[in-house]
Symmetry: T
């Protein structure tokens, strides 16, 4: 906690690798690579610059392994858990265990979809939730982390 | 829909006028005036600049009147409905009626509070929801509206 | 109860002032003024003629004030509570207190919409409910009140 | 759909044949025959006159047979499903299948009775529901159908 | 159980007589007679041939009478209970009482429709359920019964 | 109410005609005819003798017709509604309408079976319920009616 | 199980000692002593005669002690658990443990009272339930036990 | 918190202005003015005397405004929220924000009325709830506040 | 009802004997004896003086015995049922049977504790409920009974 | 969509690899290899022949990977999700994303097992569900796909 | 808290006195005396030795009295509340009040029995729960208490 | 079943690898390696000695693979499923399939945590559950397995 970390872990859950290649009418044409590139651009232009540590997996276990391996050294975790949002208590426990601030993001407005998508088991242990803004949900999450870093930096001075 | 509107309506529900003056340990020291000033700063530096139309009321009826009177000409509505989030279907219907894109914001992470605060009657008719980032929830919402305006502008060219 | 009252109070809840000016594809082109005019026409041609006391408000408190101020002297209350139908127990209590016969009307068939719109907190204390017939819901309610007045008149003779 | 039908099917479910002969304190002295006669009077004085096709059965299956046999040629179906209102999905499916506009009527205000009577499986596929006005519920339903016919006639001109 | 029966009872519940004549966009153009003919063709070409005993009724009571009268001598019962699927415990009890193996079929995928159609009171006492394959649901059910007969025959040898 | 009626209506719902011929291991070897004979023997030896009016139907509508036609002149109605116990509100309404005292009987202990069999829509409008005593449930019900007749007779003297 | 027991244990739960002395308008004028006397009369005239072992307690623990001490030697247990019906799983377990056939009786029709009285935790482990017949509920229960003894006697011969 | 405040804020929600003028059979003949006078009498005779700050409104927003404007300087808030008790989370949040000790009072015993009146959204943030004692509910609340003041005074000495 | 009773029965349920000796941080330092003494002081200074009949038991059955033995002659019953509040329907039935006015009191605000403590099975049959005021809950209850006695006395004059 | 695919993807979820080797009394002696062989035989004899692409995994993530890698080129997906049926929304989303027609199959009749097995999160996005026919569930699913291919082929001609 | 207590209170709820004498097929042949002896043997061989304070009662009140009288001086409480597990909040409150560490034990696996046995009102205030190991559940609980004592002893050194 | 196996499989679910290294304030300082060592020590000193087969994985699929591969030859399975306890029906089915006795253990008392942690999908198919004793939960489970082995050994002699 003494020195500010400068890496942001971005995790994407099941099926997000298909983004942009399927159902562009619903999810838009942006691919996960586009989102990654866009986040890297924002991070690079931050002052000081921040590193983006970007992953996707269809496996709950792999995501937990990643959180354990790369979560604790990060300045923040931006996670789009995909469908795991609604039932993966194991993912929640992993995030709780590492203690790094978490922001839950969703491309779609999960509160406007089927009722089983309204409830998140992750949100109660996150700083907050950003849902419904497409790829911009990720950018907004990153902008908030940058602001936190900035304000931590100012406090440290 | 032919020309892009340049005003953003920001609405605040019951008890948000107390912000910063009470329970700073929980909600921070920022007042609603601070949030308004901060949004105006972001809006003024946007290109082209955007006008912030900022209101607070403890009355559901006044909020509905405001949505009807000032909602339809706006580029977007950022609303923190406060406790009305959880039961004011009348507020929801007013927002639906004017048709302007709505972003629901919350200072606190409502998904981490009492269970009756997890459910929003507003969210299903909004673009999305941003909850848990303190005053920054408003800024993120405005940044998304600005991006939408920019992208509409680009599409119009 | 000895002499028949000849005024009918018609109350309209939140957002009904927007009727006809928005979403005509759903709610039709009739405005609230059209409904008022249509009710006045029916009332004027009744024998004996009946006065229509017509109001709309987006404020729950104003509606309660109106019920208290103008409800008890009326021959009947026709109320379209809008979204307040589903949660305003205060409105229900006001209607119960004045004791005037109440008819609940809805433009749309609330039983065919979102499940939270199926339940009315007002209906259990009304004579009955008429839902789904557009502006004609109001006319049917008035016709029933006229019939009641007629039959009271006949009984009084 | 090219020419306006001029017959209205009126269906009455289980136990409505007992109307007026039992519990007049609750349901009034009017018999089902009185209701039929009253509807025929209204229909005869309409312009142009409308035929009333009136039936009652205690058998769910007979009601479904009637809907199939006589429903599709009618200008509208007025149905008081009695207790079947609350569970006969088969009746609902029959009404959906013939596609004729349906109005659900009830003598009593079902929303003010036992909670199991608040829910109708028929209402979601009807134009609307009229409940609580005694025999007048039927007359109001017929008046609405006549208005629809009139307005269809005007539109056709 | 000593000798294999060679008749299959096929029962169709309320409104299935309308099949093919209404809403072909949803249910397809096949009539119930087409389904019957198709089953007879499959049954005739089985070795040894099987008799199809095919019925439809809109009356729960008639279906129960049929199950009692013709169910026990059959090699299997294929039943599409229509809307009775969801509430006719009496139908369930009749099927339980005769003891003949039952297959529940549905033209549409009931699990993808309104939530009240997801639950079947019949399925728990059936061998299984086939739903969503249009008229082919019946054929698949018959093919399974033929396989059972075949395998019983083989075991008997 | 001035003179004591001397006929007892006994009604049996769906599938009770199968009694004794199927699943004797569960329901015993007694047939419905045995139960009828046993009731007639008890009724004949009562003083004064009572007539047993005994019926069974698999059709809800037929049972309602019977209640309407033969219920009001009876000293009591003993009804085993079978599976209709759990959903036939129409049967309940018919029994309520005729006003004759009703005793609900069941061969099996419905409170010890599947949970959907625990609830009776008939019981709330009956004098009481006797469940679990096999054919003896009917005899106990009749003995109670005889006692009521006796006590009414004594009161009348 | 080799020789038929000839004692019947009758247990009465909390507040039943007040019977007849309070609220005679609801529960009638019969006292618990009257019920005991009436049961003894029936038991004495049975052939062979049966002994009635009659108790009341306001203490759940005392009732359990009684079931343990006097339940296993009895031919049957008639229990009116009073309010314990609805929550005393301990009473249920005691009855289950002794294994003697149990009949649950109630003076009032619990299915027609407050909804929390509809459910019995005792009934699922009883032979059956008799509710609603006032003191006669006890007599009917005893008559059933006598018939069982008689039929056991016949089977033993 | 250094000096003891000597004003008690008394707030009355929707429809309480009708008290005494309507339905005296239920709510008694006491008006809200009578209650106010009675509280003033008790307050005046306290030692030291306490000021009563008494208000009623049918508007949720007005009540919230009053809590914000006059709540924080008071020694306690006695609130009868009327029907708002059951859904006004905004009222709850206002009371929480000012931090003054709150006592919730009701004229009627809300736990003995319709089930939707059993639950209070206010009570969890109040010191306690007093319900069912008519106008005396207010007096008891005031007596408790006086005792608290007295005991605070003693502690301060 | 002709002469005013002058004894007040005060009953305390399970674990209330531990009051003051354990967890003083939560429940305060007052013991049950302190509460009794305090009530006796208030009762002695009433005019005319009232007798306090004070009991505690950890046994549901003992409490019921006490209500039966000492409840009917009292001017009122003040009961803190402790944990029995939430499940002892037997206690409720005992209180209902004796018919003496009952006031339910609680030291803590049960509506602010675990959700299973929000519901009281006693409250619906009490005059009212006072919860959350520590030992003062008892005093307020007694003050209300004294006022009732006074007003009965005045009415009797 | 222009040319008919000729491969069918068959996926098996957790624990299905144990089939036939354990609990043959329940699931039969057929192994998963037997099912695969049987499907290949049916597919080979189809005209034109169809390729069977058969997989099993205990890992949700592996199944999602397979759906993404091999699902989109297939003529249909037959999936027995095993226990994942009841909670793997991620599996559902993967199937939705590839858009290939899906048939859900189960060896056992899930509607006749524990209640938590009645609900499928997959079924709402499938063509249909076949449950309860043992290994034959797979064959029936394949026969339906073959019929669809045939009918597509006929339509294409 | 200054010196380590060396007595362990073991409490057994309703019907556990029947252990071993009834239903040995289910609960085994061990009696409660056997369990007590077995615990004494383990306790005697502990170093230092521990005293076993062993009780059983069918009375909730007696168990509460025991907890109050003998609970606070003990090193731990091992309680098998029997059926009281599921509803005796009074027992829970007694255990909470004395503050001694509690271990809840069950002979059977309550999570594998009727659903109403899955929930314990005691467990949330216990250290933990051991269920399903027959008499060994008690031994395991004692072994844990011994370990705690040992570790407390080591810490104290 | 003829010869006693001497290996015990110990499985640990997601995030248990973090034990001791994080949040020692909550979970204590013991690591999973400490638990393994402690179990090995107990197992080694058993007579005859038992082998501990110890694994952890964050992957549901890996755990299922392990159960299938190593579960059937073991004398028992001790499993701490971590968060999978609450939703992994697949894990439950794997454990059911291998048939080896299972003991579910938890470090914390899951019945005292968030309500979604109270329910285990594994427990109903386990011998029993031990929750709340920290690392000692594992030791107690092993001690029970050793006792079972011992008693099996004695029975075999």
């Amino acid at each position: 906690m003494t020195e500010t970390p400068t890496r942001v872990l971005v995790l994407n859950g099941p099926n997000l690798n298909l983004l942009g290649t399927r159902e562009p009418g619903i999810y838009g044409a942006a691919t996960l690579a586009d989102i990654e590139a866009s986040l890297r651009a924002v991070a690079a232009s931050a002052s000081p610059a921040v590193e983006i540590d970007f992953h996707q997996s269809n496996h709950e276990g792999v995501l937990i392994d990643l959180i354990q391996a790369r979560g604790s050294g990060a300045a923040g975790i931006i996670i789009n858990p995909g469908a795991l949002t609604h039932y993966s208590i194991a993912l929640r426990d992993a995030l709780t265990a590492v203690g790094t601030p978490v922001i839950e993001v969703h491309l779609s407005n999960i509160h406007a979809r089927e009722s089983f998508r309204h409830h998140s088991v992750i949100a109660p242990i996150a700083i907050g939730q950003i849902a419904g803004f497409g790829p911009d949900s990720y950018r907004l999450a990153l902008l908030h982390i940058l602001r936190r870093l900035q304000s931590d930096g100012e406090n440290a001075r």
